[in-house]
């Protein structure tokens, strides 16, 4: 119950501020009218349309109307597609989410063994390599990684397709591209976290029981090192989705990112707004899930 209350307390102000930012931007950007009317429209036509759209109302009335529409899920229609903006976004959302989740999965699969290994063999040659590669992984722009992967694995060695999202094999390059930065960050984190836990006395306790080293590492060290990692993964999720926008461009991925860029190019503000809100909501949900996982993992929070 307390968890629910805290969540609501977190979500409502966040969404409120978000509406202010987005609405403010659109208000400043203004002039949807000239975009909606043909070029030969008269001043009278303009005035009529402005009146119809409520653009002559005071700021806060417009804002209230805007909120009212948002609550009913009405982001307006896309200028480009003449379809409800939200529907357009929801159609493309699964592709983006799949891409992001696969990237996250790849990052987790790569970073856990590497991070643990690097920590256990601290200052060894392989640790040096792993740490070096993870610094590099964070420094490379993801779209460049994507282009390089295309160069190596689609052009030089034609193993994977360059674009599209039809079959599972299409997922490989985009999700690897998107996952690299997160994998690098997580490897670094897990290494640090495991090193820290290794110093704790309960690890010694486990060894003094005569426990096998493998189980000591998994059950006592790794389990405890997960808590800070989970927190960071939650924080990183928005950046992952942000990265997806760019990666989708590189691989012509039919997701929200490409829709966003297309809509930005066409000044299709209804769609842009819908995307911002949907992504913000996803981020908030991701944070809540992180919070929940964190609580499940850490008995010190669960049983206060």
């Amino acid at each position: 119950m307390a968890f629910l209350k805290r969540s609501v307390l977190q979500i409502v102000p966040t969404l409120f501020i978000l509406t202010l930012i987005v609405f403010g931007l659109v208000y400043v950007a203004g002039d949807p009218v000239s975009m909606m009317l043909p070029e030969n429209a008269t001043a009278e036509d303009r005035a009529l349309l402005e009146e119809a759209l409520g653009l002559n109302d005071p700021f806060f009335v417009q804002y209230l109307n805007y909120i009212k529409d948002l609550i009913t899920g009405d982001f307006g229609n896309s200028l480009q597609y003449r379809e409800p903006a939200l529907q357009l976004v929801m159609e493309r959302l699964p592709a983006t989410l799949t891409l992001s989740l696969m990237a996250m999965g790849i990052a987790i699969i790569i970073s856990i063994p590497l991070g643990i290994y690097a920590a256990l063999k601290r200052n060894s040659f392989l640790d040096f390599i792993i740490s070096g590669v993870s610094i590099l992984g964070k420094a490379m722009p993801n779209y460049w990684i994507g282009i390089m992967l295309i160069l190596f694995f689609a052009v030089m060695l034609p193993i994977f397709p360059v674009s599209g999202a039809e079959t599972p094999i299409h997922f490989v390059l985009p999700s690897v591209t998107l996952g690299v930065a997160l994998a690098a960050e997580m490897t670094r984190l897990i290494r640090g976290s495991v090193l820290e836990v290794l110093e704790q006395e309960f690890v010694q306790t486990a060894r003094s029981k005569g426990q096998k080293e493998f189980i000591v590492v998994l059950r006592h060290v790794f389990l405890n090192s997960l808590i800070p990692v989970v927190t960071i993964v939650g924080i990183q999720f928005p950046q992952l989705i942000g990265g997806a926008i760019v990666v989708e461009t590189v691989f012509s991925w039919p997701g929200v990112g490409r829709l966003l860029l297309f809509s930005i190019g066409a000044s299709d503000m209804a769609v842009v707004q819908a995307i911002v809100f949907v992504i913000a909501l996803i981020t908030i949900v991701a944070n809540l899930i992180t919070d929940a996982v964190y609580r499940i993992l850490d008995p010190q929070i669960k049983y206060k």
Binding site: P13, I21, L25, N123, I135, G242
Partner: protein, 296 residues
Amino acid sequence: MNTNNPLARMVAKIRNNSSPLGMIGLVIFAIIVLLAIFAPWIVPHNPFAIDATKRLIPPFWVEGGSTTYILGTDHVGRDILSRLIYGGRVSLLVGLFAVIISGAIGLLLGLLSGYLGGTWVDHVLMRIVDAILAIPTLLLVLVAVVVFEPGLMTLILVIGLTSWPQYTRLVRGEVLSVKEREYVQLAQTLGTSHTYLLSRHILPNVVSSFIVVATIGIASAILTESSLSFLGLGVQPPDITWGGMLNDGRNYIATSWWIATFPGLAITITVLAITFVGDWLRDALDPRLKTRRGWK
């Protein structure tokens, strides 16, 4: 050495904590900065000159390349090396000024929030910080870029105005923890003035972590800038950006790999150099962070 001067103390700490990797990073970064500053006098060719007869020349070590164009030419015959040198200008300008803006805002709001910790001002500020952090930076920047004309100034302002929350959070946390320390509480009970407390006790403690995070901030601003330029929403042609060059090269990746490869390398090297310097500063100035991450 005057050990009472926090700045002098900081410099001494950085000197004492030498790091080979940090030095390498610093040297590389210095070279990149110098190249960018003196670009017009250094470049071997006019980076803007289009020459249809010199299209898609590969780098000199590849068959068909020549030492005239060391890194080759792009799809309209412009020298890639010269364009790389020019491209650093935009990245560095954006990185530096965006961090100055976001750092200044973040520092001020963080001090305010931490100093007034627990009051409604603090709560409101923190909610705003949460809200902004809930949106991917790139998304926020993209939307803002639509509203304002894309260009260098817009980019600096937009990145600057959207990435301050992390500084606010950091500074606020530092201020709160410094406030808890006994000597500060003692100073407070003795009736020390607010400005004295801030300048004497709180700021010096905040500054070192702030510098560390700001250094890394330059790197992420450069990455954001290059992403936007890559998407065609950053600094517009004919101005040269690494992201823009990468975008040009994308379509030629199957035939002329060098166009997209070198600007990406340039970004990576720049970001790496800054990261090395940042890690060095962190180890030297903020040992707490060091042990927490467990890095050498």
